[in-house]
Symmetry: C2
Subunit: 309 residues, 2 copies
């Protein structure tokens, strides 16, 4: 089952060089989770043929316009499409005020319900816990209140070992084995040990989204060992001072966080307008953390199960 | 000197078929006046190589998102570009609340000053009167408070008749002739009659922008004889009922207004998402008013001086 990240935009501040502002879609078991929503995100969804009604959860990291301006247009178009199912929007204080004011003046009564879930950007909070994932906020250090998001797949079940004689079991017994239970006789004594017929579950996959932030080793504990880390890399190292002033990071700093957190793969984004060519950013990051890619709009980054054998 | 309209977008409600939401630029004597500002307008400006700093006046017709959502992004990018000169934004009540709230939460202190000029959408008001133009609101009938804009070039000066002996005059006398004055002797008696050396001024040009609105003959008096009329034409006539329900117009109704107001040229826009091919809308309008064109983004419609001879 899939676990993949689609980049809809990854430019910082303003659109430039045909690059859009930040927006991403995480697809887990065919559920779509949107993360940030810069101006024009609804056009990007159309370009990449994503059906709007498949999006049920939208996470907004902070209230700089390049991370949320596209939201009101997306919400409005969902209304025009006669959406019926609830939409849940997770954001910092203020987001619901802005959207509510815009809907008030346009006199729009939406065809569906929006659930606003406001999180406190100063602390780690679990904002979503459903059958597929848990989502936890990652407090970041930026000019305004800002949170990243740590999205973890729910633990997987044990896998049936096909080298063993499984035909002796009925369906309920097979489900019990996947749940880690032993097979018991009528008196409740163990007939078959679970470990003799199953293999350990595949490791649950995880994604951490960290934008926008100062270089901050304080997040390393929380994102340790994630399979995929998105970390902003607004500047090259020769502008480390500028990064610090504006509460952003360099490509080398993003890679340093990835290395110290021992993540599987790093994707960098939130590129400054000053860089038309992004390769120097990629090269700089790879000097510190080899398994790095650029967040290029339209591209998909798949997170594969880690083999346990 | 030029007087031309550049279409940046003309789709209604949501972007579709690679068409953007409403935004226009009127260029008069190289001054740029923006009218409405749908999502992605800043990207459209970049696509058509328009320098943002050349825009000093932005007119917003109403607070449906497809007419103003692009404003906060444009304002923010002007700030990133370190704009210094004032920007004046003309809008209905509520627009400054929305933008002020967005700027508050992003903690942005702009590098330049915005002058908000709020108009009352229920009455005709002159909102701008500068050296080049006057701009008057046109009250429209829509679901929310909505105004069009009537933009008139300032009266032109009389033209010197090059067939006459003009060499006998000094510079001040030539300027006086263009201002319609006679040339006097030292005692104040008329030496030369103005009409003997000048021709009437070229007719001042005018543009009326009417979106979004029900078919409303009440506007005809105000827009009578304009050189160029933009009138929304959301639907074809077979959906006249739907147009009425949603406070919009059909292509035929737009053309009827153009005919009754005896305008020079009609441009129709605000096309419904349902029309991928726009030619049926054009054909329908031309049956009633021949000199009609479609508002196609990227295209420029020039208003020429009407020859007086």
């Amino acid at each position: 089952l899939n676990f993949e990240l689609k980049i809809l935009g990854s430019n910082s501040a303003a659109p430039a060089h045909n690059r859009h502002q930040t927006a991403q879609l995480l697809s887990i078991y065919n559920q779509l989770y949107m993360i940030d929503c810069g101006e024009g995100t609804q056009m990007q969804l159309t370009r990449y043929k994503v059906k709007f009604h498949r999006i049920n959860h939208i996470f907004i990291s902070h209230l700089h316009g390049d991370h949320y301006i596209g939201l009101i247009g997306l919400i409005s178009t969902m209304h025009l499409q006669k959406r019926e199912s609830d939409l849940t929007i997770y954001g910092p204080p203020g987001l619901s005020d802005i959207l509510t004011l815009q809907l008030k003046y346009s006199q729009t009564i939406l065809s569906y319900k929006i659930n606003f879930k406001e999180y406190d950007p100063s602390s780690r909070q679990i904002v979503l816990d459903d059958e597929h994932v848990t989502v936890e906020t990652i407090p970041l250090k930026h000019r305004v209140a800002c949170s990243g998001f740590l999205i973890r797949e729910k633990p997987n079940k044990r896998r049936l070992n096909k080298l063993k004689n499984l035909e002796q079991f009925n369906l309920q017994q097979l489900l019990d084995l996947k749940d880690g239970k032993d097979i018991l006789d009528e008196e409740g004594s163990i007939l078959y040990q679970n470990e003799d017929f199953t293999l350990p579950p595949k490791k649950a996959r995880s994604y951490a989204y960290c934008s926008d932030t100062l270089y901050d080793e304080g997040i390393i504990g929380q994102i340790q060992n994630v399979d995929l880390l998105y970390h902003e890399a607004t500047f090259l190292s020769d502008r480390e001072e500028r990064a610090k002033e504006t509460f952003h990071s360099t490509a080398r700093q993003a890679a340093t966080i990835a290395k110290k957190a021992d993540v599987g793969q790093l994707v960098i984004g939130h590129f400054s307008i000053r860089y038309k060519d992004l390769n120097p950013l990629l090269q700089e990051a790879r000097e510190t953390f080899k398994n790095t890619v650029l967040a290029i709009e339209g591209e998909t980054i798949a997170v594969e199960f880690v083999s346990l054998f």
